[in-house]
């Protein structure tokens, strides 16, 4: 048996949406992470809820990138493609490298399967032009049936274990320790031990099949772990990390966490996650619409809670009214925008960065609002925590942007120690102001004080009408409105955010790659690849978009060429040009609903360098 060392490997599990590909992928990534590999995953769900079985639109995929060194993306193309049926092979082949190993279940390539997948001939391998040597074709379904024949399980339950056979085979291919997978399953099915054991038998059968029939002919791979960071880890998706960040911030601030929300893809998992944790006192209200989600959160904020509303772009349209009310009332509010493809209903399950100018400017009047964009699934935790901290300490709505790609993607999350996170201290009205306080008195940093209902001596009214800076009464006085507009802007500009960090060839890069939010991994990977090819390249990524880091102009002006790469038609580039005098970047813009492809980035950036 040949064992080949690899730096990194990408595996894509694909099958019908009922084939359990997400679970198989999850277990494989957990097994890999447990031995200290770096992982990044990307579940690719079909747009239909349950398309007809075996159909082209019903294919569900799960891609995992396993690296000896840190990996930043789920990978462009896979080294191993598991295709559980003919439709999966047909739709997923485009995600496989030319020399990828392809595992298929021949039992799911019968005449009817081929018809459903619209193959024209009875030889799909030839029809797709695949080199037969790359294909591991096994009668997978039959072997699973044989393996579980003596268990008395019904056919339906037996067929549900097919994914585990594929998983076993992949584990053999990458010399994975099956015990980790076994433990995972015993935990997961703790209440159904016979189901756990059946799954375990099938994984072992898949592993043994690989070992017995292919070990002489095929390479087996090993991905060592080179950058182990000791610690305790869990797998986390971006949406779950966002929810955890909110919970952590509420605990740190000593406040009740309130979520007002309305179901919307791809943000709904935040509502799901928070709804589970009532034992932490989390209150979630599934409202009648997006408007009420935001409006009720603002009501909760007035009442003294850490108030959050979660949505995607179409929901931001509806929430913008109450977000603006939060601006003028100067109450804390966290608005989460898990971006998806637009405009209108657009591409609900796909990812874009097309809401940036909407969250920055999409409201009537002068309406400044901090904007934070999380960079990868795990970063959603810190980004959500910081969004809460800024909202509470500066009495302002804050937009936290993520996107479908990082919200559904996952990576290993080192369990955070809350004591290492910064304190959160809202500016409650000091007691000594009792009797002399008016609602728009400000602390030194320009922030309005917070008087929470229930506190005697501080009754007051807030509202959507402009108020007098001194008395807090309604005012349309010209000078006062001008002043209040400036004070609200100054308050946001006073927020301290970390400097923009430059990675790579900091001192002598010929090209600076700039992006924001969820493209961090792809841009970083592109930079690494170009540097490995001997080019001088640097990467700076905006997590804090408003206010911009103080060193923004300095960093952008430091390099001969700058390219702003984003999944929209140039929104960050436009914002930076507005904020930085004389800044004229190159642009890389793509709105395909899919993550960037590193090789495309490298090609485009190299062309810019060579111009």
């Amino acid at each position: 048996m040949n064992i080949k060392e690899l730096e990194d490997v990408v595996v894509r599990f694909s099958g019908d949406s009922g084939d359990g590909m997400q679970l198989a992928g999850n277990i494989f990534s957990t097994v890999s992470a447990t031995v200290g590999n770096s992982i990044s995953t990307f579940p690719d769900y079909p747009a239909d809820i349950r398309a007809p079985q075996g159909s082209l639109t019903g294919v569900s995929g799960f891609q995992v990138h396993v690296g000896a060194n840190k990996v930043f993306t789920p990978g462009d193309l896979c080294d191993v493609l598991v295709a559980m049926n003919a439709a999966a092979l047909k739709t997923q082949l485009k995600y496989a490298k030319k020399d990828a190993t392809i595992i298929i279940d021949t039992d799911a390539f019968q005449k009817s399967d081929l018809d459903k997948a619209a193959f024209k001939t009875d030889d799909p391998i030839q029809e797709l032009g695949i080199d037969r040597d790359r294909v591991v074709a096994c009668p997978l379904t039959q072997m699973v049936k044989d393996c579980l024949a003596d268990t008395g399980m019904d056919v339906k339950s037996v067929l549900k274990c097919r994914n585990m056979f594929a998983l076993g085979l992949v584990c053999w291919l990458f010399s994975r320790d099956l015990n980790i997978a076994f433990n995972f399953l015993r935990d997961k099915f703790a209440k159904k031990p016979e189901l756990a054991e059946a799954n375990i038998r099938v994984i072992q059968a898949g592993y043994d099949y690989g070992h017995n029939t292919h070990s002489s002919a095929m390479n087996v791979y090993r991905v060592e772990s080179k950058v182990k960071e000791p610690g305790r880890y869990m797998d986390i998706t971006g949406n779950k990390a966002t929810a955890y960040g909110l919970i952590a911030a509420a605990e740190k601030a000593g406040l009740k966490l309130y979520l007002g929300s309305y179901p919307i893809t791809p943000a709904t998992d935040i509502l799901h996650e928070l709804s589970k944790h009532k034992s932490l006192g989390v209150t979630t209200v599934q409202c009648e619409d997006e408007i009420a989600g935001c409006a009720s959160a603002l009501g909760a904020s007035f009442a003294g809670a850490l108030a959050v509303t979660s949505t995607s772009g179409p929901g931001i349209c509806l929430k913008s009214e109450a977000m603006n009310l939060a601006v003028i009332m100067e109450l804390p509010l966290v608005v989460i925008d898990v971006q998806r493809g637009g405009p209108a209903t657009g591409l609900p399950t796909k990812s874009e960065q097309t809401d940036l100018l909407q969250v920055l400017f999409g409201r009537n009047g002068e309406s400044p609002m901090p904007v934070i964009a999380a960079e990868h699934p795990v970063d959603c935790f810190d980004a959500a925590y910081m969004a809460c901290k800024i909202a509470l300490e500066h009495m302002t709505p804050v937009v936290l942007m993520t996107d479908a790609f990082i919200a559904n993607g996952s990576a290993s999350f080192k369990l955070p120690d809350l004591s290492e996170y910064p304190e959160i201290n809202p500016p409650y009205v000091p007691e000594e102001l009792r009797g002399n306080w008016t609602p728009y008195m400000r602390a030194e940093n320009g922030t309005r004080y917070w008087a929470v209902p229930g506190r005697e001596g501080f009754t007051h009214i807030l509202g959507g009408l402009e108020k007098d800076n001194q008395t807090g009464a309604i005012s349309t006085a010209p000078e006062n409105h001008d002043l209040m507009t400036r004070l609200r802007r100054q308050k946001i500009e006073n927020i301290e955010v970390p400097d923009l960090e430059v990675l790579g060839d900091v001192d002598d890069a010929d090209l600076l790659i700039v992006g924001f939010g969820g493209t961090y991994g792809h841009l970083r990977a592109a930079m690494d690849e170009m540097r490995a090819a001997g080019r001088k390249v640097a990467h700076a990524h905006f997590k804090f978009v408003n206010p911009l880091p103080k060193n923004t102009a300095e960093v952008l002006g430091r390099y001969r060429k700058v390219v702003v790469a984003e999944q929209n038609m140039g929104q960050l580039a436009a914002f930076l040009r507005m904020k930085v005098d004389g800044f004229v970047p190159y642009q890389f813009n793509q709105v395909k609903g899919q993550p960037f492809v590193v090789s495309e980035l490298v090609k485009s950036f190299t062309e810019i360098l060579d111009k």
Partner: protein, 335 residues
């Protein structure tokens, strides 16, 4: 006895037009709050936009004068986040039933413990005179110079249709009856809708003339009271009786009718059929306009249920802080 007077709830100088129904209502609200006796700092008064939505500015309580139509949604979050607060939501007919109609029905459906005041003058006043969702068909206004071609909402129907558990009505100029229903609304646990019939002297003068003064009410209104026979008229000489699927007006002494034959009001009856009939009377149908508490039925409130569920889950689950939450996941250790 309450330790507060109406003065403790007053603030500022109202700027509504002279004679506006809002003035009368505000005075009754001050009085009702004093009698209810919740401290001003434990009261939140939340309005939307419109003439009547200026009201929180004249309250010495916590308050918000928010955006058009959203008062019920904002009040919902406020109440759920802090159930200790007494939350009053002030809306007009446009704010509450047009732009805010969705929030109005869902606040009723959820039965959130809000006191929801609907100041109904059947007109948009602040935008200077357009028809509202309660303006009658054919109503002539600046935006309907040839008369409207749509039927109005009847607020009680919406409230009942949304499974509301409390509905009361008063005329703004009728202070004692207004104070009574406001107190009843506060006492009722759950969403309490109070429809206040009020005049707009500028854009819809006389809209509630039939019941706007005492004499008119004596003739054209019936004060309903739980457990009391449904009698009305200057000398209580008329009454209401069931008549097949409907109601009928009868005169005591005529055709052998005695007080004993008169329908007794049951505001606590779960079935809202007869309550709805009472609430819809007086639309030029020869029936009197019903005033007072028409429906007042106990039901679990949303805010109580939210808190109860949190306590229940707290008792069941073994994790109660963030560090313990982390431990509920599949965790591995990298050495």
């Amino acid at each position: 006895m309450s330790e507060y007077t109406a003065q403790d709830f007053k603030k500022g100088q109202p700027r509504w037009c002279p004679g506006c129904g809002d003035h009368f209502f505000l005075a009754s609200l001050h009085k009702a709050m004093a009698e209810i006796g919740v401290a001003p700092h434990n009261v939140a008064v939340i309005s939307g936009i419109g003439c009547s939505s200026r009201l929180p500015h004249y309250m010495a309580t916590y308050g918000m004068n928010t955006i058009h139509g959203r008062a019920a949604a904002i009040a919902t979050g406020c109440k759920v986040a802090n159930p200790e607060l007494a939350v009053w939501q002030i809306s007009g007919d446009g704010d509450g039933l047009a732009i805010g109609g969705n929030h109005f029905i869902h606040a009723n459906r959820r039965n959130i413990n809000l006191n929801m005041i609907l100041l109904n003058n059947r007109i948009y006043g602040l935008t200077k005179g357009q028809y509202s969702p309660t303006s009658p068909r054919g109503f002539v206004s600046k935006s309907s110079p040839y008369g409207t071609v749509e039927d109005p909402f009847r607020p009680a129907e919406l409230c009942f249709g949304a499974r509301g558990h409390f509905f009361a009505r008063a005329v703004a100029t009728d202070a004692p009856a207004t104070v009574d229903i406001l107190k009843a609304a506060y006492q009722h646990k759950g969403a309490s809708v109070c429809e206040i019939l009020q005049n707009c002297v500028i854009f819809n003068n006389g809209t509630h003339d039939a019941v706007y003064n005492k004499e008119g009410r004596a003739k054209n209104a019936i004060y309903v009271k739980h457990g009391q026979p449904l009698l009305f008229g200057e000398n209580n000489e008329y009454g209401l009786m069931q008549d097949g699927f409907g109601l009928k007006v009868v005169k005591i002494g005529e055709n052998g009718v005695t007080v004993k034959d008169i329908l007794v009001h049951d505001a606590h009856c779960e079935d809202n059929t007869l309550q709805l009939k009472l609430a819809l009377m007086g639309q030029g149908d020869g029936f009197p306009v019903a005033l007072g508490v028409i429906r007042d039925v106990e039901a679990p409130t949303y805010d109580d249920s939210v808190s109860a569920q949190i306590e229940e889950v707290k008792a069941q689950k073994k994790y109660h802080n963030f560090a313990e939450l982390l431990e509920t996941n599949d965790i591995w250790t990298v050495e």
